[in-house]
Protein backbone atom coordinates (compact mmCIF):
# COMPACT_ATOMS: atom_id res chain seq x y z
CA UNK A 1 0.00 0.00 0.00
CA UNK A 2 2.99 2.22 -0.44
CA UNK A 3 1.95 4.19 -3.50
CA UNK A 4 -1.28 5.81 -2.55
CA UNK A 5 -0.31 7.52 0.65
CA UNK A 6 2.67 9.09 -0.97
CA UNK A 7 1.35 11.12 -3.88
CA UNK A 8 1.88 14.17 -1.74
CA UNK A 9 5.18 12.84 -0.50
CA UNK A 10 6.40 12.02 -3.97
CA UNK A 11 5.30 15.39 -5.20
CA UNK A 12 7.27 17.09 -2.46
CA UNK A 13 10.31 14.94 -3.07
CA UNK A 14 10.24 15.64 -6.78
CA UNK A 15 9.82 19.36 -6.28
CA UNK A 16 12.61 19.62 -3.76
CA UNK A 17 15.01 17.45 -5.72
CA UNK A 18 14.40 19.03 -9.10
CA UNK A 19 14.39 22.55 -7.73
CA UNK A 20 17.81 21.79 -6.33
CA UNK A 21 19.02 20.51 -9.67
CA UNK A 22 17.52 23.49 -11.45
CA UNK A 23 19.12 25.91 -9.05
CA UNK A 24 22.50 24.25 -9.51
CA UNK A 25 22.15 24.35 -13.28
CA UNK A 26 21.19 28.01 -13.19
CA UNK A 27 24.14 28.86 -10.97
CA UNK A 28 26.59 27.14 -13.27
CA UNK A 29 24.99 28.72 -16.31
CA UNK A 30 25.16 32.19 -14.80
CA UNK A 31 28.79 31.65 -13.96
CA UNK A 32 29.91 30.55 -17.38
CA UNK A 33 30.01 32.25 -20.69
CA UNK A 34 32.09 33.29 -23.64
CA UNK A 35 33.85 36.04 -21.73
CA UNK A 36 35.77 33.26 -20.01
CA UNK A 37 35.84 34.81 -16.58
CA UNK A 38 36.41 32.37 -13.75
CA UNK A 39 33.45 30.75 -12.10
CA UNK A 40 34.58 31.88 -8.69
CA UNK A 41 34.34 35.55 -9.60
CA UNK A 42 30.88 35.01 -11.04
CA UNK A 43 29.62 33.11 -8.02
CA UNK A 44 30.91 35.87 -5.78
CA UNK A 45 28.86 38.42 -7.64
CA UNK A 46 25.74 36.29 -7.67
CA UNK A 47 25.88 35.92 -3.95
CA UNK A 48 26.13 39.63 -3.54
CA UNK A 49 29.69 40.20 -2.56
CA UNK A 50 30.56 43.85 -2.46
CA UNK A 51 33.76 43.78 -4.50
CA UNK A 52 31.86 44.81 -7.56
CA UNK A 53 33.43 43.99 -10.89
CA UNK A 54 30.80 45.96 -12.69
CA UNK A 55 31.60 44.57 -16.11
CA UNK A 56 31.07 41.03 -14.92
CA UNK A 57 27.99 42.16 -13.06
CA UNK A 58 26.54 43.58 -16.25
CA UNK A 59 27.37 40.41 -18.09
CA UNK A 60 25.78 38.18 -15.52
CA UNK A 61 22.61 40.08 -14.86
CA UNK A 62 21.93 41.76 -18.19
CA UNK A 63 23.24 39.24 -20.65
CA UNK A 64 23.29 35.81 -19.05
CA UNK A 65 20.37 36.02 -16.68
CA UNK A 66 17.62 36.76 -19.24
CA UNK A 67 18.98 33.98 -21.39
CA UNK A 68 19.12 31.43 -18.59
CA UNK A 69 15.63 32.41 -17.48
CA UNK A 70 14.44 32.00 -21.05
CA UNK A 71 16.03 28.55 -21.17
CA UNK A 72 14.13 27.56 -18.03
CA UNK A 73 10.83 28.81 -19.44
CA UNK A 74 11.30 27.24 -22.86
CA UNK A 75 12.53 23.94 -21.47
CA UNK A 76 9.59 23.80 -19.08
CA UNK A 77 7.07 24.67 -21.76
CA UNK A 78 8.32 22.16 -24.29
CA UNK A 79 8.52 19.32 -21.76
CA UNK A 80 5.09 20.13 -20.42
CA UNK A 81 3.73 20.43 -23.94
CA UNK A 82 5.07 17.00 -24.80
CA UNK A 83 3.59 15.55 -21.64
CA UNK A 84 0.14 16.99 -22.25
CA UNK A 85 0.00 15.93 -25.88
CA UNK A 86 1.12 12.44 -24.95
CA UNK A 87 -1.77 12.26 -22.49
CA UNK A 88 -4.30 13.90 -24.80
CA UNK A 89 -3.47 11.78 -27.80
CA UNK A 90 -2.72 8.74 -25.67
CA UNK A 91 0.37 8.24 -27.79
CA UNK A 92 3.88 8.09 -26.38
CA UNK A 93 5.33 9.44 -29.61
CA UNK A 94 3.47 12.71 -29.33
CA UNK A 95 5.58 15.78 -28.90
CA UNK A 96 4.73 19.45 -28.65
CA UNK A 97 5.06 20.24 -32.33
CA UNK A 98 2.82 17.49 -33.48
CA UNK A 99 -0.23 19.57 -34.24
CA UNK A 100 1.39 21.55 -36.98
CA UNK A 101 2.93 24.02 -34.59
CA UNK A 102 6.43 23.49 -35.92
CA UNK A 103 5.46 23.78 -39.56
CA UNK A 104 3.26 26.81 -39.17
CA UNK A 105 5.53 28.79 -36.90
CA UNK A 106 8.56 28.02 -39.05
CA UNK A 107 6.89 29.36 -42.16
CA UNK A 108 5.79 32.45 -40.29
CA UNK A 109 9.25 33.00 -38.84
CA UNK A 110 11.02 32.52 -42.15
CA UNK A 111 8.73 35.01 -43.85
CA UNK A 112 9.39 37.42 -41.01
CA UNK A 113 13.15 37.01 -41.32
CA UNK A 114 13.01 37.33 -45.09
CA UNK A 115 11.12 40.58 -44.69
CA UNK A 116 13.94 41.80 -42.50
CA UNK A 117 11.83 42.18 -39.39
CA UNK A 118 13.49 42.24 -36.02
CA UNK A 119 13.36 39.19 -33.80
CA UNK A 120 10.86 40.69 -31.43
CA UNK A 121 8.10 41.60 -32.02
CA UNK A 122 8.26 41.13 -35.82
CA UNK A 123 9.48 37.60 -36.38
CA UNK A 124 7.90 36.31 -33.19
CA UNK A 125 4.52 37.68 -34.17
CA UNK A 126 4.70 36.18 -37.67
CA UNK A 127 5.68 32.82 -36.24
CA UNK A 128 2.81 32.91 -33.78
CA UNK A 129 0.27 33.73 -36.49
CA UNK A 130 1.72 30.91 -38.59
CA UNK A 131 1.28 28.35 -35.85
CA UNK A 132 -2.26 29.49 -35.12
CA UNK A 133 -3.08 29.15 -38.80
CA UNK A 134 -1.86 25.58 -39.03
CA UNK A 135 -3.53 24.68 -35.75
CA UNK A 136 -6.84 26.02 -37.03
CA UNK A 137 -6.30 24.17 -40.29
CA UNK A 138 -5.73 20.90 -38.48
CA UNK A 139 -8.74 21.35 -36.25
CA UNK A 140 -10.91 22.01 -39.28
CA UNK A 141 -9.47 19.08 -41.18
CA UNK A 142 -10.03 16.61 -38.37
CA UNK A 143 -13.43 17.90 -37.35
CA UNK A 144 -15.08 16.06 -40.22
CA UNK A 145 -14.71 13.07 -37.98
CA UNK A 146 -15.11 13.63 -34.26
CA UNK A 147 -12.84 16.43 -33.21
CA UNK A 148 -11.58 14.36 -30.35
CA UNK A 149 -10.80 11.25 -32.33
CA UNK A 150 -7.13 11.14 -31.59
CA UNK A 151 -5.97 9.53 -34.79
CA UNK A 152 -7.62 12.16 -36.93
CA UNK A 153 -5.80 14.93 -35.07
CA UNK A 154 -2.50 13.15 -35.22
CA UNK A 155 -2.69 12.32 -38.90
CA UNK A 156 -3.75 15.81 -39.84
CA UNK A 157 -0.86 17.17 -37.81
CA UNK A 158 1.65 14.94 -39.51
CA UNK A 159 0.38 15.83 -42.97
CA UNK A 160 0.36 19.54 -42.33
CA UNK A 161 3.88 19.42 -40.91
CA UNK A 162 5.11 17.50 -43.93
CA UNK A 163 3.58 20.03 -46.28
CA UNK A 164 5.08 22.87 -44.31
CA UNK A 165 8.52 21.25 -44.56
CA UNK A 166 8.30 21.43 -48.31
CA UNK A 167 7.31 25.08 -48.17
CA UNK A 168 10.15 25.79 -45.76
CA UNK A 169 12.74 24.22 -48.02
CA UNK A 170 11.43 26.26 -50.92
CA UNK A 171 11.66 29.48 -48.93
CA UNK A 172 15.15 28.63 -47.73
CA UNK A 173 16.32 28.05 -51.29
CA UNK A 174 15.31 31.59 -52.15
CA UNK A 175 17.33 33.22 -49.42
CA UNK A 176 20.78 34.75 -49.39
CA UNK A 177 23.58 34.70 -46.88
CA UNK A 178 23.01 36.73 -43.74
CA UNK A 179 19.31 35.97 -43.47
CA UNK A 180 19.94 32.34 -44.27
CA UNK A 181 22.06 32.02 -41.18
CA UNK A 182 19.36 33.63 -39.08
CA UNK A 183 16.77 31.26 -40.52
CA UNK A 184 18.88 28.21 -39.83
CA UNK A 185 19.53 29.30 -36.29
CA UNK A 186 15.82 29.86 -35.73
CA UNK A 187 14.94 26.47 -37.20
CA UNK A 188 17.40 24.80 -34.87
CA UNK A 189 16.35 26.73 -31.80
CA UNK A 190 18.20 29.80 -30.66
CA UNK A 191 18.10 31.48 -27.29
CA UNK A 192 20.73 34.11 -28.04
CA UNK A 193 18.41 37.03 -28.51
CA UNK A 194 16.97 36.82 -25.00
CA UNK A 195 16.53 40.09 -23.20
CA UNK A 196 14.83 41.05 -19.97
CA UNK A 197 11.71 42.57 -21.47
CA UNK A 198 10.71 39.73 -23.73
CA UNK A 199 11.69 37.07 -21.22
CA UNK A 200 9.60 38.87 -18.66
CA UNK A 201 6.60 38.99 -20.97
CA UNK A 202 6.99 35.33 -21.73
CA UNK A 203 7.18 34.51 -18.03
CA UNK A 204 3.96 36.41 -17.41
CA UNK A 205 2.23 34.39 -20.10
CA UNK A 206 3.69 31.00 -19.30
CA UNK A 207 3.62 30.76 -15.52
CA UNK A 208 -0.19 30.98 -15.29
CA UNK A 209 -0.36 28.30 -18.00
CA UNK A 210 1.85 26.05 -15.90
CA UNK A 211 -0.41 26.53 -12.92
CA UNK A 212 -3.54 25.77 -14.89
CA UNK A 213 -1.99 22.64 -16.33
CA UNK A 214 -1.04 21.47 -12.86
CA UNK A 215 -4.65 21.98 -11.90
CA UNK A 216 -5.60 19.58 -14.67
CA UNK A 217 -2.96 16.99 -13.88
CA UNK A 218 -5.28 14.46 -12.30
CA UNK A 219 -7.69 14.93 -15.18
CA UNK A 220 -4.85 13.84 -17.46
CA UNK A 221 -4.43 10.70 -15.37
CA UNK A 222 -8.10 9.93 -15.86
CA UNK A 223 -7.95 10.61 -19.59
CA UNK A 224 -5.38 7.87 -19.91
CA UNK A 225 -7.82 5.13 -18.97
CA UNK A 226 -9.88 5.98 -22.00
CA UNK A 227 -12.16 8.81 -23.01
CA UNK A 228 -15.42 7.05 -22.37
CA UNK A 229 -14.38 5.54 -19.09
CA UNK A 230 -13.03 8.85 -17.90
CA UNK A 231 -16.37 10.42 -18.62
CA UNK A 232 -18.18 7.78 -16.62
CA UNK A 233 -15.84 8.55 -13.76
CA UNK A 234 -17.12 12.09 -13.73
CA UNK A 235 -14.66 13.92 -15.98
CA UNK A 236 -16.16 16.36 -18.51
CA UNK A 237 -13.95 14.90 -21.19
CA UNK A 238 -14.85 17.12 -24.09
CA UNK A 239 -14.34 20.35 -22.16
CA UNK A 240 -11.13 19.19 -20.58
CA UNK A 241 -9.72 18.02 -23.90
CA UNK A 242 -10.49 21.29 -25.62
CA UNK A 243 -9.04 23.37 -22.80
CA UNK A 244 -5.88 21.30 -22.64
CA UNK A 245 -5.49 21.30 -26.39
CA UNK A 246 -5.96 25.02 -26.84
CA UNK A 247 -3.98 26.08 -23.80
CA UNK A 248 -1.02 23.85 -24.54
CA UNK A 249 -0.98 24.75 -28.22
CA UNK A 250 -0.99 28.44 -27.40
CA UNK A 251 1.68 27.99 -24.79
CA UNK A 252 3.97 26.06 -27.10
CA UNK A 253 3.28 28.41 -30.02
CA UNK A 254 4.11 31.48 -27.99
CA UNK A 255 7.37 29.96 -26.82
CA UNK A 256 8.44 28.52 -30.13
CA UNK A 257 7.64 31.73 -31.95
CA UNK A 258 10.33 33.38 -29.93
CA UNK A 259 12.95 30.72 -29.43
CA UNK A 260 12.68 28.64 -32.57
CA UNK A 261 12.23 24.90 -32.96
CA UNK A 262 14.22 23.27 -30.20
CA UNK A 263 13.83 19.57 -30.69
CA UNK A 264 13.87 16.53 -28.49
CA UNK A 265 13.12 18.36 -25.28
CA UNK A 266 9.40 17.75 -25.54
CA UNK A 267 9.81 14.15 -26.55
CA UNK A 268 12.57 12.95 -24.26
CA UNK A 269 11.90 14.72 -20.97
CA UNK A 270 8.39 13.35 -20.32
CA UNK A 271 9.56 9.83 -21.03
CA UNK A 272 12.65 10.14 -18.91
CA UNK A 273 10.72 11.56 -15.99
CA UNK A 274 7.96 9.00 -16.40
CA UNK A 275 10.57 6.26 -16.27
CA UNK A 276 11.89 7.58 -12.98
CA UNK A 277 8.72 8.68 -11.25
CA UNK A 278 5.84 6.86 -12.89
CA UNK A 279 2.93 8.10 -14.93
CA UNK A 280 1.08 10.14 -12.33
CA UNK A 281 0.71 13.57 -13.88
CA UNK A 282 0.36 15.29 -10.55
CA UNK A 283 4.03 14.47 -10.11
CA UNK A 284 5.02 14.68 -13.76
CA UNK A 285 3.71 18.18 -14.39
CA UNK A 286 6.00 19.85 -11.83
CA UNK A 287 8.74 17.41 -12.80
CA UNK A 288 8.54 18.45 -16.43
CA UNK A 289 8.54 22.11 -15.52
CA UNK A 290 11.58 21.90 -13.28
CA UNK A 291 13.39 19.07 -15.05
CA UNK A 292 12.71 20.38 -18.53
CA UNK A 293 13.93 23.78 -17.47
CA UNK A 294 17.13 22.40 -15.99
CA UNK A 295 17.77 20.30 -19.08
CA UNK A 296 17.56 23.21 -21.44
CA UNK A 297 19.68 25.42 -19.19
CA UNK A 298 22.41 22.80 -19.40
CA UNK A 299 22.03 22.31 -23.14
CA UNK A 300 22.16 26.03 -23.77
CA UNK A 301 25.17 26.35 -21.51
CA UNK A 302 26.98 23.73 -23.56
CA UNK A 303 25.89 25.43 -26.76
CA UNK A 304 27.36 28.70 -25.58
CA UNK A 305 30.63 27.45 -24.14
CA UNK A 306 31.69 24.38 -26.07
CA UNK A 307 32.72 26.00 -29.34
CA UNK A 308 35.93 27.97 -29.34
CA UNK A 309 34.42 30.75 -31.38
CA UNK A 310 30.80 31.77 -31.37
CA UNK A 311 28.14 29.33 -30.34
CA UNK A 312 26.16 26.42 -31.65
CA UNK A 313 22.40 26.53 -31.86
CA UNK A 314 21.05 25.04 -28.65
CA UNK A 315 18.89 22.73 -30.74
CA UNK A 316 22.01 20.87 -31.87
CA UNK A 317 22.88 19.98 -28.29
CA UNK A 318 19.34 18.94 -27.38
CA UNK A 319 19.34 16.64 -30.37
CA UNK A 320 22.81 15.24 -29.72
CA UNK A 321 21.91 14.45 -26.13
CA UNK A 322 18.26 13.74 -26.66
CA UNK A 323 18.50 11.18 -29.42
CA UNK A 324 20.75 8.69 -27.59
CA UNK A 325 18.73 9.17 -24.41
CA UNK A 326 15.56 8.42 -26.32
CA UNK A 327 17.02 5.25 -27.79
CA UNK A 328 18.13 4.21 -24.34
CA UNK A 329 14.64 4.83 -22.99
CA UNK A 330 13.14 2.81 -25.81
CA UNK A 331 15.34 -0.13 -24.94
CA UNK A 332 14.58 0.19 -21.26
CA UNK A 333 10.85 0.20 -21.84
CA UNK A 334 11.00 -3.01 -23.81
CA UNK A 335 11.74 -4.98 -20.70
Amino acid sequence: MAAQTSVTKRLLLVIVLLTGILAAAVLVALSSGSSREGMGASLAIIFGQEDANTTLETIIWHLRFPRVLLAVLVGATLSLGGLVFQALLRNPLAEPYILGISGGSAIGAIIGIMLGLSRFPGVTFCAFIGSLATLALILVMSSGTTILKKDALLLSGVMVNAFCSAVIMFLVSLTQDARLQNIIFWLMGDLSSADSLTTGILALILIPCFLVLFFFSHAMNLLLVGKETAQTMGLPVKTVTVVLLVLTSLMVSATVSYSGLLGFVGLVMPHLLRLIWGPDHRVLVPACILGGGAYLVVCDLLARTLPQQGEMPAGVITALIGAPVFIFLLKKSRR
Partner: protein
Amino acid sequence: MKTVIAINNLSHAFGNHAVLKNLSFSITGGDFFVIIGPNGSGKTTLMKLMAGVLKTGTDRIRIFERDIRNFSYKSLARRIAYVPQRLEVGFPFTVEEAVLMGRAPHQNVLGIPQDRDIETTRQAMAITEVAHLADRKLDQLSGGEQQRVFIARALCQEPEIILLDEPTASLDISHQIRVMDLMEKLKIEKKVTVVMVSHDVNLAAMYGDRLLLLRSGEIASLGLPHEVLTFRNLEATYGCKVLVDESPLGKSPRVTPVPKKFLV
Protein backbone atom coordinates in the same frame (compact mmCIF):
# COMPACT_ATOMS: atom_id res chain seq x y z
CA MET B 1 -38.13 -2.60 -4.92
CA LYS B 2 -37.95 0.56 -6.91
CA THR B 3 -37.00 1.08 -10.50
CA VAL B 4 -33.45 2.32 -10.83
CA ILE B 5 -33.22 2.53 -14.62
CA ALA B 6 -36.25 3.26 -16.77
CA ILE B 7 -35.88 3.08 -20.55
CA ASN B 8 -38.67 4.76 -22.46
CA ASN B 9 -38.98 4.56 -26.25
CA LEU B 10 -35.25 4.63 -26.68
CA SER B 11 -33.92 4.69 -30.23
CA HIS B 12 -30.40 5.29 -31.46
CA ALA B 13 -28.83 5.44 -34.87
CA PHE B 14 -25.30 5.87 -36.17
CA GLY B 15 -25.70 7.97 -39.27
CA ASN B 16 -28.47 6.29 -41.25
CA HIS B 17 -28.03 2.98 -39.55
CA ALA B 18 -30.62 2.40 -36.84
CA VAL B 19 -29.11 0.41 -34.00
CA LEU B 20 -31.83 0.56 -31.37
CA LYS B 21 -35.52 0.86 -32.14
CA ASN B 22 -38.01 2.06 -29.61
CA LEU B 23 -36.88 0.15 -26.58
CA SER B 24 -38.88 0.35 -23.38
CA PHE B 25 -38.13 -1.56 -20.22
CA SER B 26 -37.08 -0.99 -16.65
CA ILE B 27 -34.52 -2.41 -14.26
CA THR B 28 -35.35 -2.94 -10.60
CA GLY B 29 -32.94 -2.03 -7.86
CA GLY B 30 -30.85 -4.92 -6.54
CA ASP B 31 -31.42 -7.01 -9.65
CA PHE B 32 -28.82 -8.94 -11.59
CA PHE B 33 -29.92 -7.90 -15.06
CA VAL B 34 -28.27 -9.54 -18.05
CA ILE B 35 -28.57 -8.36 -21.65
CA ILE B 36 -27.95 -11.04 -24.26
CA GLY B 37 -28.18 -11.17 -27.99
CA PRO B 38 -26.21 -11.79 -31.17
CA ASN B 39 -23.36 -9.57 -32.33
CA GLY B 40 -24.62 -6.31 -33.73
CA SER B 41 -27.92 -6.46 -31.87
CA GLY B 42 -27.15 -3.21 -30.11
CA LYS B 43 -26.10 -4.47 -26.68
CA THR B 44 -23.02 -2.28 -26.32
CA THR B 45 -24.85 0.74 -27.66
CA LEU B 46 -27.54 0.22 -25.07
CA MET B 47 -24.89 -0.03 -22.35
CA LYS B 48 -23.20 3.17 -23.45
CA LEU B 49 -26.48 5.00 -23.49
CA MET B 50 -27.24 3.87 -19.96
CA ALA B 51 -23.77 4.88 -18.85
CA GLY B 52 -24.23 8.34 -20.29
CA VAL B 53 -21.38 7.89 -22.76
CA LEU B 54 -23.74 8.26 -25.72
CA LYS B 55 -26.29 11.05 -25.66
CA THR B 56 -29.98 10.64 -26.18
CA GLY B 57 -33.20 12.67 -26.17
CA THR B 58 -35.21 13.99 -23.27
CA ASP B 59 -36.66 11.50 -20.85
CA ARG B 60 -35.60 8.46 -22.81
CA ILE B 61 -33.51 7.24 -19.94
CA ARG B 62 -34.32 7.88 -16.30
CA ILE B 63 -31.92 7.03 -13.54
CA PHE B 64 -33.51 6.90 -10.11
CA GLU B 65 -36.51 8.60 -11.65
CA ARG B 66 -34.46 11.55 -12.91
CA ASP B 67 -33.76 12.21 -16.58
CA ILE B 68 -30.19 11.13 -17.22
CA ARG B 69 -29.59 14.43 -18.99
CA ASN B 70 -30.13 16.28 -15.74
CA PHE B 71 -27.17 14.69 -14.04
CA SER B 72 -23.77 16.34 -14.05
CA TYR B 73 -20.95 14.01 -15.09
CA LYS B 74 -19.72 13.84 -11.56
CA SER B 75 -23.05 13.17 -9.89
CA LEU B 76 -23.86 10.47 -12.42
CA ALA B 77 -20.46 8.92 -11.76
CA ARG B 78 -21.35 8.61 -8.11
CA ARG B 79 -24.43 6.58 -8.92
CA ILE B 80 -23.36 4.52 -11.95
CA ALA B 81 -20.02 2.89 -12.70
CA TYR B 82 -19.18 1.52 -16.13
CA VAL B 83 -16.69 -1.19 -17.00
CA PRO B 84 -16.35 -1.29 -20.79
CA GLN B 85 -15.32 -4.26 -22.83
CA ARG B 86 -11.80 -3.11 -23.59
CA LEU B 87 -9.72 -0.77 -21.56
CA GLU B 88 -6.49 0.85 -22.59
CA VAL B 89 -3.51 -0.10 -20.51
CA GLY B 90 -0.92 1.94 -22.37
CA PHE B 91 0.67 3.88 -19.58
CA PRO B 92 2.23 1.98 -16.69
CA PHE B 93 0.10 2.86 -13.69
CA THR B 94 0.22 0.46 -10.76
CA VAL B 95 -2.85 -1.49 -9.78
CA GLU B 96 -3.28 0.59 -6.69
CA GLU B 97 -3.05 3.87 -8.63
CA ALA B 98 -5.51 2.57 -11.19
CA VAL B 99 -8.04 1.51 -8.58
CA LEU B 100 -7.64 4.75 -6.66
CA MET B 101 -8.66 6.69 -9.76
CA GLY B 102 -12.13 5.32 -9.26
CA ARG B 103 -12.47 7.67 -6.32
CA ALA B 104 -12.49 10.64 -8.69
CA PRO B 105 -16.21 11.37 -8.46
CA HIS B 106 -15.79 11.86 -4.72
CA GLN B 107 -12.63 13.90 -4.79
CA ASN B 108 -11.56 17.42 -5.56
CA VAL B 109 -9.85 18.29 -8.78
CA LEU B 110 -6.35 17.16 -7.85
CA GLY B 111 -7.54 13.91 -6.42
CA ILE B 112 -5.24 13.86 -3.43
CA PRO B 113 -6.32 10.73 -1.55
CA GLN B 114 -7.99 11.17 1.82
CA ASP B 115 -8.38 8.46 4.45
CA ARG B 116 -11.80 7.52 3.16
CA ASP B 117 -10.41 7.12 -0.35
CA ILE B 118 -7.64 4.87 0.88
CA GLU B 119 -10.07 2.77 2.90
CA THR B 120 -12.51 2.37 0.03
CA THR B 121 -9.72 1.38 -2.29
CA ARG B 122 -8.45 -1.17 0.15
CA GLN B 123 -11.87 -2.73 0.47
CA ALA B 124 -12.46 -2.73 -3.27
CA MET B 125 -9.16 -4.47 -3.89
CA ALA B 126 -9.97 -6.98 -1.17
CA ILE B 127 -13.35 -7.88 -2.58
CA THR B 128 -11.96 -8.29 -6.08
CA GLU B 129 -8.98 -10.21 -4.76
CA VAL B 130 -6.34 -8.00 -6.32
CA ALA B 131 -4.87 -6.67 -3.11
CA HIS B 132 -1.75 -8.77 -3.53
CA LEU B 133 -1.13 -7.11 -6.88
CA ALA B 134 -1.22 -3.58 -5.51
CA ASP B 135 2.26 -2.54 -6.60
CA ARG B 136 2.36 -4.35 -9.90
CA LYS B 137 2.11 -2.47 -13.16
CA LEU B 138 -1.19 -2.87 -14.98
CA ASP B 139 0.36 -4.01 -18.23
CA GLN B 140 2.08 -6.90 -16.48
CA LEU B 141 -1.17 -8.57 -15.39
CA SER B 142 -3.17 -11.29 -17.06
CA GLY B 143 -6.50 -10.50 -18.70
CA GLY B 144 -8.47 -11.86 -15.78
CA GLU B 145 -6.48 -9.92 -13.24
CA GLN B 146 -6.86 -6.72 -15.26
CA GLN B 147 -10.60 -7.25 -15.46
CA ARG B 148 -10.83 -7.57 -11.69
CA VAL B 149 -8.76 -4.39 -11.28
CA PHE B 150 -11.17 -2.47 -13.47
CA ILE B 151 -14.06 -3.80 -11.46
CA ALA B 152 -12.31 -2.72 -8.29
CA ARG B 153 -11.95 0.76 -9.75
CA ALA B 154 -15.63 0.83 -10.60
CA LEU B 155 -16.41 -0.18 -7.04
CA CYS B 156 -14.41 2.74 -5.73
CA GLN B 157 -16.97 5.02 -7.27
CA GLU B 158 -19.32 3.56 -4.65
CA PRO B 159 -21.99 3.19 -7.29
CA GLU B 160 -25.50 1.97 -6.81
CA ILE B 161 -25.52 0.57 -10.32
CA ILE B 162 -22.64 -1.12 -12.04
CA LEU B 163 -22.67 -1.65 -15.80
CA LEU B 164 -20.37 -4.23 -17.31
CA ASP B 165 -19.93 -4.87 -21.02
CA GLU B 166 -19.01 -8.53 -21.62
CA PRO B 167 -16.70 -8.78 -18.61
CA THR B 168 -16.04 -12.46 -19.19
CA ALA B 169 -15.38 -12.29 -22.89
CA SER B 170 -11.72 -13.27 -22.95
CA LEU B 171 -11.49 -15.15 -19.65
CA ASP B 172 -11.09 -18.86 -18.97
CA ILE B 173 -13.87 -20.70 -17.15
CA SER B 174 -12.44 -20.31 -13.67
CA HIS B 175 -12.00 -16.56 -14.10
CA GLN B 176 -15.43 -16.32 -15.62
CA ILE B 177 -16.98 -17.89 -12.56
CA ARG B 178 -14.91 -15.72 -10.28
CA VAL B 179 -16.12 -12.53 -11.91
CA MET B 180 -19.74 -13.65 -11.94
CA ASP B 181 -19.53 -14.75 -8.30
CA LEU B 182 -18.05 -11.41 -7.48
CA MET B 183 -20.96 -9.62 -9.12
CA GLU B 184 -23.40 -11.74 -7.21
CA LYS B 185 -21.60 -11.00 -3.99
CA LEU B 186 -21.82 -7.29 -4.72
CA LYS B 187 -25.47 -7.58 -5.42
CA ILE B 188 -26.17 -9.39 -2.19
CA GLU B 189 -23.73 -7.69 0.18
CA LYS B 190 -23.62 -4.18 -1.19
CA LYS B 191 -27.09 -4.05 -2.69
CA VAL B 192 -25.58 -2.94 -6.00
CA THR B 193 -27.71 -3.31 -9.11
CA VAL B 194 -25.68 -5.26 -11.65
CA VAL B 195 -26.41 -4.69 -15.34
CA MET B 196 -24.30 -6.86 -17.57
CA VAL B 197 -23.98 -7.58 -21.25
CA SER B 198 -22.99 -11.16 -21.79
CA HIS B 199 -22.30 -13.31 -24.81
CA ASP B 200 -22.60 -16.44 -22.71
CA VAL B 201 -26.29 -17.36 -22.36
CA ASN B 202 -25.62 -20.09 -19.83
CA LEU B 203 -23.80 -17.81 -17.45
CA ALA B 204 -26.63 -15.36 -17.94
CA ALA B 205 -29.08 -18.10 -17.07
CA MET B 206 -27.21 -19.15 -13.92
CA TYR B 207 -26.77 -15.73 -12.46
CA GLY B 208 -29.35 -13.43 -13.97
CA ASP B 209 -32.49 -12.45 -12.10
CA ARG B 210 -33.95 -11.08 -15.29
CA LEU B 211 -32.76 -11.34 -18.86
CA LEU B 212 -33.24 -9.08 -21.85
CA LEU B 213 -32.84 -10.72 -25.25
CA LEU B 214 -32.07 -8.18 -27.96
CA ARG B 215 -32.56 -8.84 -31.63
CA SER B 216 -31.66 -6.18 -34.23
CA GLY B 217 -32.15 -3.37 -31.78
CA GLU B 218 -35.53 -4.56 -30.51
CA ILE B 219 -36.64 -6.52 -27.48
CA ALA B 220 -37.08 -10.14 -28.49
CA SER B 221 -37.89 -11.23 -24.98
CA LEU B 222 -37.70 -9.87 -21.45
CA GLY B 223 -38.22 -11.70 -18.16
CA LEU B 224 -37.02 -14.55 -16.00
CA PRO B 225 -34.40 -16.89 -17.49
CA HIS B 226 -36.92 -19.69 -17.97
CA GLU B 227 -39.23 -17.30 -19.80
CA VAL B 228 -36.62 -15.86 -22.08
CA LEU B 229 -34.47 -18.86 -22.86
CA THR B 230 -36.88 -20.94 -24.89
CA PHE B 231 -35.73 -22.69 -27.99
CA ARG B 232 -38.22 -20.70 -30.03
CA ASN B 233 -36.85 -17.36 -28.81
CA LEU B 234 -33.28 -18.43 -29.23
CA GLU B 235 -33.63 -19.95 -32.64
CA ALA B 236 -35.51 -16.92 -33.90
CA THR B 237 -32.89 -14.57 -32.49
CA TYR B 238 -29.63 -16.41 -33.09
CA GLY B 239 -30.67 -18.27 -36.18
CA CYS B 240 -29.23 -21.61 -35.16
CA LYS B 241 -30.66 -24.79 -33.69
CA VAL B 242 -30.51 -25.03 -29.91
CA LEU B 243 -31.45 -27.53 -27.30
CA VAL B 244 -32.88 -26.10 -24.05
CA ASP B 245 -33.10 -28.27 -20.96
CA GLU B 246 -32.60 -27.92 -17.24
CA SER B 247 -29.12 -27.35 -15.89
CA PRO B 248 -27.83 -30.33 -13.85
CA LEU B 249 -27.43 -27.86 -10.98
CA GLY B 250 -31.18 -27.56 -11.08
CA LYS B 251 -31.76 -23.88 -10.77
CA SER B 252 -31.67 -22.59 -14.29
CA PRO B 253 -32.20 -23.48 -17.96
CA ARG B 254 -29.29 -24.79 -19.97
CA VAL B 255 -28.81 -23.91 -23.60
CA THR B 256 -26.86 -26.15 -25.92
CA PRO B 257 -26.29 -25.05 -29.50
CA VAL B 258 -26.57 -28.08 -31.83
CA PRO B 259 -23.71 -28.88 -34.18
CA LYS B 260 -24.73 -29.80 -37.69
CA LYS B 261 -23.64 -33.40 -37.33
CA PHE B 262 -26.33 -33.99 -34.75
CA LEU B 263 -29.14 -32.68 -36.89
CA VAL B 264 -31.28 -35.20 -38.66
